[in-house]
Symmetry: C3
Subunit: 277 residues, 3 copies
Amino acid sequence: MTITSADLGVALDALRARVPLVHSLTNIVSANFLTNVLLAAGASNAHIDNAHEAGDFARIAGGVLVNLGTPDDGTAVAFTAAAEAAHDAGTPWVLDPVGVGGLAWRSSLAADLLKFRPTAIRGNASEVIALAGLGGDTRGVDSSDDPAAAVPAAVALLQHAEVVSASGPVDHLVGHDADGGLLGVRIGGGSAMLPRVTSTGCSLGALVAAYLAVAETPLVGLAAAHAHVAVASEIAEAASSGPGSFAVAYLDALYSLDAATLAERVVLDTFDIAEIR
Amino acid sequence: MTITSADLGVALDALRARVPLVHSLTNIVSANFLTNVLLAAGASNAHIDNAHEAGDFARIAGGVLVNLGTPDDGTAVAFTAAAEAAHDAGTPWVLDPVGVGGLAWRSSLAADLLKFRPTAIRGNASEVIALAGLGGDTRGVDSSDDPAAAVPAAVALLQHAEVVSASGPVDHLVGHDADGGLLGVRIGGGSAMLPRVTSTGCSLGALVAAYLAVAETPLVGLAAAHAHVAVASEIAEAASSGPGSFAVAYLDALYSLDAATLAERVVLDTFDIAEIR
Amino acid sequence: MTITSADLGVALDALRARVPLVHSLTNIVSANFLTNVLLAAGASNAHIDNAHEAGDFARIAGGVLVNLGTPDDGTAVAFTAAAEAAHDAGTPWVLDPVGVGGLAWRSSLAADLLKFRPTAIRGNASEVIALAGLGGDTRGVDSSDDPAAAVPAAVALLQHAEVVSASGPVDHLVGHDADGGLLGVRIGGGSAMLPRVTSTGCSLGALVAAYLAVAETPLVGLAAAHAHVAVASEIAEAASSGPGSFAVAYLDALYSLDAATLAERVVLDTFDIAEIR
């Protein structure tokens, strides 16, 4: 079994039809843009990051995002409550290990969260490598490693998660096909403007949570989110003249993109990861 | 006595002439966009949500917004301090009960805040119904009820507040006319793009706080804020091709809208609520 | 020795070549826009405002911004940790005293932070005057004083900082030239739209931190940041029709501005401040 561009179009149609409710716990930099990305793409969002309510809401949401961008003592407790509740209730949840590796406290938080088995882990190459304990060196929240170099780390993390992705010029995703076999997926295309606009990575993590709520398999959901972002960013770059107009056009393109265009334009291929494990 | 579109134009002129200073206590999703909405419309804003300063500032602000979107233990104390100080000092204040009903902790917070008698309560239909204790069912922060269905709940909340509004495709507002008689106001028009951009509702709440600082009566202020948003969003939709460009055009339209255009384009009517109470 | 427009062009080229990493501790209103300003201008940013990590990160960042916009008990501790670590490690850091003067708690915080000797202090005229203990009267976060009136206060603050600026229609900067002599710099131009978009001042503070990491002297770095903002805002105003489209065009212009255009368009002059001290 493999994954095809048509599978991603089916996932996009399911997103639009079902409008999944994402429960986000994210950082103060990305909270607004991330929500606009979800609304534009076809999902909805509630940001609930206090310890009193995060657990209860994670039980009823369609998908949960735990993003470690700007943790504090209060939200760290909420992260744990949400992850535990999502795990117990069977709500798919995404761990975005922002800054893990270079920063000690959140690295410890991330390690603790792994025990609640995130459905998906999405980070840049440095973060994925760091989370897998393979070393890596993060420069703040930007990545200094190529996503291809993170594939062994991503595969290693499959002991904790269903699917793992490392974002970059070519996104590298790993997980299982519909028959349970290991499968790697690459999503190319995209835009060099994405790293010039903050929170495009964080909002991709949120979009993964939305797609996990509606897709046939976690790997299809993960790939559909990456593909939605990649194709929309290409369309946006062609309609913009800098990072300000790119961000605006990107939201418009996330909104107007349809399944046929997604399937036609996505740069998708698969690769064998069985020997890496 | 009734409310006319001309009254709303007078309120807009007063906003531009006096540039009221809003003190906002809002959530991390809406803080930036909400401030831009206030600046574009013609007000100014200071976001002060720590318990050390919130009470003092609420005494000197033109209007206060308490928005329950992302409360934590610290801001919850600041909400109470601000509401109490606003009540004591006679500063008009707005309660935006985001997510009340579906989430237990903030529902309790909202109930406690009612004792400081908000000048205005603004929510979506589900939140207004929930706050009135009439049941209702909230789906995260989006509404699953029609605003018309929230009118009895809104009227019930007049025991706690001067004016109450339920936002939606047609906004329903209740309060008192200049003679003290009960009056309902409907504001139609608007844009289906508003719910596709996050924080449009939260920023409407902030704009209500701004208008309360300058309008002849609370009901005129509430209606002017709703009308300003409705007409600006119509103008913006005509100039945009998705939620990204809509948000940009919306800020431009809030800024350029003048009193004559507001009065000419607003879809306004009044209705009798005396028998509901 | 003086500062010339050519010096500012050299600083811009250095920014683009070295892509300094800013460590920001800022408020929830500005966090997103501020990061986009840094990315557009040519820097990178990590927002880390918890007490567990702020000190460690300030040691390795290119520059640090401490912005007092929305402090709470937790971030206040992180502010101190970051300022102390920056001071000890020799990392240039910027203090943006948002709201100081009108608000007691943060005024005390700001006074405490001065002992860690910020490299630069950037505020509006009211804040600079208040911080210098010369009185002044702040209206929320907006300024009620002319920047020229803040020059004596700015000069007085040079006992705590290398350079100080007061933003406004004409920005007034004070510091030392390459020979150690006192020098005042005025940056004119700019756009009346800047105060209509929130966080343009806060993001200027962040851009100062970025330029301090790469410029020949603190005063050149400070002036280059102000000039980058002033020229980009002029370009943006010409391409926009309100605050929404201005903010978008502003990010585009920060991104596309080159050294030659900066040097050609900046409205720069110097003034003598030796007698003020």
